[in-house]
Amino acid sequence: MSHSSMTRRGFLKSTAAMGAVAALGISAAGSLVEADPAHAATAGEEKVYKTSCRACIANCAVLAHVRDGRVIKIEGNPESPMSQGGVCAKGLAGIQALYHPNRNKYPMRRVGERGGNQWERISWEDAITEVATKINEMSDKYGSESISVSTGGGGNPHFSNIKRFGEAINTPNVWEPGCAQCYLPRMGAALLAYGRGKPNNLSFSDSNGWDYYYTDSPVTSLVLWGTDPSNSSVATGGRALAELRARPQGLKTVVIDPRYTLDAAKADVWLPIRPGTDVALLLTWTKWILDNEKYDEEFCRSWTNMPYLINPETRLTLKATEAGLEGTDADYVIWDPAANAPVVVQYPMNEGVAAPLFGTYEVNGMQCPTGGELLKQSVEEWTLEKGAEVCWLDADQIERALEIYTDPEGQSGIMQGVAIDQYAQSQQSALGALNLEFLMGNVEKPGTMLQSFAPAPCKDQLGNTPRLLSKDKVMKRAGYLEHKGLICWDMAFIPGIFDMMRDGDPYQIHMWIERSGNKHVVLGNSSCLDEITPNVDYIVHAFMYPTAFSVLCADLILPTTEWLETNLPIPQLNTIVMRQAVTHLFETVEEGIIWTNIVQKCAELGNEHAAKAFDADACMTTPFYKNEYEKQLQHLNKLDMTWEEACEQGVIKWAEEDEYRTYGVYLKPDPATGLPKGFGTPSKKLEVYCESNIILGRTGAPWAQCAEEKPLVLPPASEDYEPLAYYMEPAESPLTDTEYPLVLTEGRLPMYHHGTLRNIPYLREIYPVPEMWIHPEDAEKYGITDGEWVNIESRRGKTHGKARVTTGIAKGVVYQERFWAPELLDSDDPAQAYKVMNVNVLTKNDAPYNPEYGTYTLRGFQVKVSPSDDEILKSVWIEPEQFNAWMPAPSDPTEDVYDYGA
């Protein structure tokens, strides 16, 4: 590749000297680049850019003040209808992130042994060529599936980029530690049972629940189930709740959380649930609603599959052909009590037939229960008392919560947080919560959580290209047949990937390309990486800063961009909030541009599959962009303006509020039939009896596809996926565990996101080390003193936290959030950076897994605690002044961000 072709593709010229060896970490600043003090001068004119934060997933609109190419101030942009001018600590500290002295500044190649933390600077051209050459070599020698690609949610990521990259280099083994453990279960369940869900689901912190951003929403109460918007979506969701509560009529809330969060503290009812028992409480709620006839009977009859008869032999809805009725095998059957006979459903519902929701009826020699009957049976044992006993709750408080949720005078909704995605019952929790909303008719009405408002004309995610992979290739994806829920996002099963990396079972993974904050901090049982990564021949890490993963595992480091250096349009209600690069530092490159350049290089070096990524016919969807300009066009999608025009506006209102807030979309007539559109399920009904889950497990529908086939019909998983939620006691349970008596839960903090930002001075000084919350009775029992270091141990490992003895945590439960110590990277034992205070060395990534998604256990497992005086704790930075080493440094300016390609 010539130098000019590199430039054309959007890379920067490399002018500085190469080859100096340096360590990454606290001493990196001085060793890499001479500061240019002139650049810090503030003589020029100040320009204010409208852009959008990406310190977390909320994407709040901000104003970036720039002078002489340097960002000097960040403020909120009041034009955003979601954040309304608010910015949280993370966003405000964006300048410290941008100008962090330890930014990865140039591509760096490892020198010496892995873990030795010695690096030399190389050019982008050399880096791209090296990676592309390795990809092609590995593909030829072992097959392209031997290359694994991973990403994560923290640190300005772009999910569809990396999926497209994996598909372009022909590997099915792309994964991220969220996915099955974060958001996919809630989204997947909504796609299956509601037929929408991308994104219309119960996750408020993933920017759903759009009606709640309007104070005229008739919502009167909300159930915050394992979610804390005040922490997890501070200026958007947190703000929205603050506005709703501040209305004259207020907002009643129920918070279900082991932690007495500030949202819980404002709630009418706080249910400090035992981690891992959410499904037990969901079943309890379901039974109470059924027993007390609080459900919306007419809605359930017309718009759910509760009256549909179920074939006991197939476990699927009974079809006309099976019932001996006239019709096809796409026709559903209900019971007509007047005729005392089964009848075929006349969509949307047979007039004059009061089809029962419950009961079992004999049809064609079979005893066929209704969907509603099976729901009823599934919750039979879950009385308030039983629910209270299993969940460690007070039955009266559960009932108070239910009365708020089911108040006939009000309108409620359920917000479900990531907590339920983080153990083996992820899909069951998601389906169980959706069923409550379905029973109550809380669907697409003013004030409900589930909505189908008008979609924005732009795309923040470009979508995957699953049809680039052949059947042969996709079948090699880890966990593909057993955990078919992962196909929704075309992602691989992480424990399966690790089996391959460690043991070559069923084949060896030789190469790993990773982009995220710190895999050691976010993966379950993360110290398993110690024995896994030595077996992987070549590891690339792309991120903005060195992490434990870079130092311990990587062979090559690629510097990526902070959010102030990147471009992306983001739909927010009836507006689009633009993110635009307002500056650029060193030789950092936006990850999508890195990926496309690697793919282009692979193709140039003879990789035939890689070339297909740029071919719309081969992709059968939008192909991979080749440069920043093409990328911007793809993201703008149907928004009819240039990128520059869009950025100039900053926040673009593409619809009036009433055009955007479209209620009752399922009732709108389908132009083809004149009948209501219904929902996106096969029956167009809400699947309270979620047969789509069974079908997913048996065939991979509706998601499996490949180059040759769509749909791709897969062999069944080893066991059926269940259509209704069921309770399973956690594998490690406080009811039986005597050695590890306490249940651990995690939970979000407002000043951090995932594993990121622990290197930001103004944030670390607020919360320098993780607090371990423990109830006073437990603290006394285990000799724990408030404010002292504690050992926390599980069957996987040991770590530390600082005790906070508080009644703000359920008895028998301890809480601690993920953490790491970047200050230890450049120490004698860099592994301590991730081990010293990281709950993920305790978490579980072994079976049992969630059947649908392969979710492993990050919350609701057993630990023990004891006072600690471990020597290593003295190395952890706690004093604010220690973080001075990380205060913004003068940077190496780069004038041209990209050659945009047009």
């Binding site: 101030k73 960040i74 403020e75 909120g76 954040s83 309304q84 001018g85 608010g86 910015v87 949280c88 600590a89 966003g91 405000l92 500290a93 300048i95 918007p229 005040s230 922490n231 501070v234 200026a235 947190g238 703000r239 603050a242 506005e243 509560r245 501040a246 207020g250 007495y260 500030l262 949202d263 819980a264 503290a265 404002k266 009812v269 706080w270 400090p272 007070d394 408080q397 407002p750 000043m751 001075p761 103004y762 000084e765 607020i766 919360y767 320098p768 607090e771 408030d786 404010g787 906070r804 508080t806 009644t807 703000g808 706690i878 004093e879 604010p880 002044e881 973080f883 001075n884 205060m887």
Partner: protein, 210 residues
């Protein structure tokens, strides 16, 4: 001198305890690590389940009417400006720290580099241009307000007017008459007018039993 009572008013019903105001303040005013002009605590939890109280309490200079920091200052470095705002003229500060001892709330900080006392200035550099203080502008929950308590048209007066007198609180008044008002209704629970930080670098505070 006008007799305005310019101050920050915080609606604790709205505040989510995100610490954004702390960082906004430090970024705007270039406050050193270890020092703060604005600090958020979470008070509690106190009480027995299910009747418990926990809330975020953002703190800063309370702009006392009878400000002890001004009266004890030996040089006049602690003073009231023409808008009646309590400020520190760092050029006149000799570093005796009497004002820090005299402040009933301990919300003054020590600038070790310059050897003088500092504190919240209500972002005079911004408000003099008609802008909001940084912490108010960026407040993620819309919980902070700035203005003159004596001006019924100010943002603080309008927000306070929405609430009953019983829901409007001040930190314990030792005769200094703090101007800063905290709005907190029984949605949250019991207001505590005297709190004590938990110690160390922690963000928690507990009510002090008298």
């Amino acid at each position: 001198m006008t007799m305005a009572r310019n101050c920050i008013v915080v609606n604790l019903d709205r505040c989510t305890g995100c610490f954004g105001c702390e960082v906004a303040c430090k970024m705007e005013n270039d406050v050193a690590l270890g020092q703060r002009w604005s600090k958020v605590f979470t008070v509690g939890p106190v009480g027995e389940y299910p009747d418990m109280t926990r809330y975020a309490l953002p703190t800063m200079c309370q702009q006392c009417e009878d400000a002890p920091c001004v009266s004890v200052c030996p040089t006049g470095a602690s003073y009231r400006d023409k808008d009646n705002v309590v400020l520190v003229n760092k050029e006149q500060c000799i570093g005796c720290k009497y004002c820090m001892m005299a402040c009933p709330y301990g919300v003054r900080s020590w600038n070790a580099d310059e050897g003088c006392v500092e504190k919240c200035t209500l972002c005079g550099q911004l408000t003099s241009q008609g802008k909001q203080p940084a912490c108010v502008k960026s407040c993620a929950a819309g919980a902070r307000f700035y203005g003159d308590l004596d001006d019924p048209e100010s943002a603080v007066s309008k927000e306070l007017a929405k609430y009953d007198e019983k829901d409007i609180h001040v930190l314990r008044d030792a005769g200094n008459k703090p101007a800063t008002r905290y709005i907190m209704t029984d949605m949250i629970g019991t207001w505590y007018d005297r709190v004590e930080p938990r110690g160390g670098h922690q963000t928690a505070a507990y009510p002090v039993e008298d």
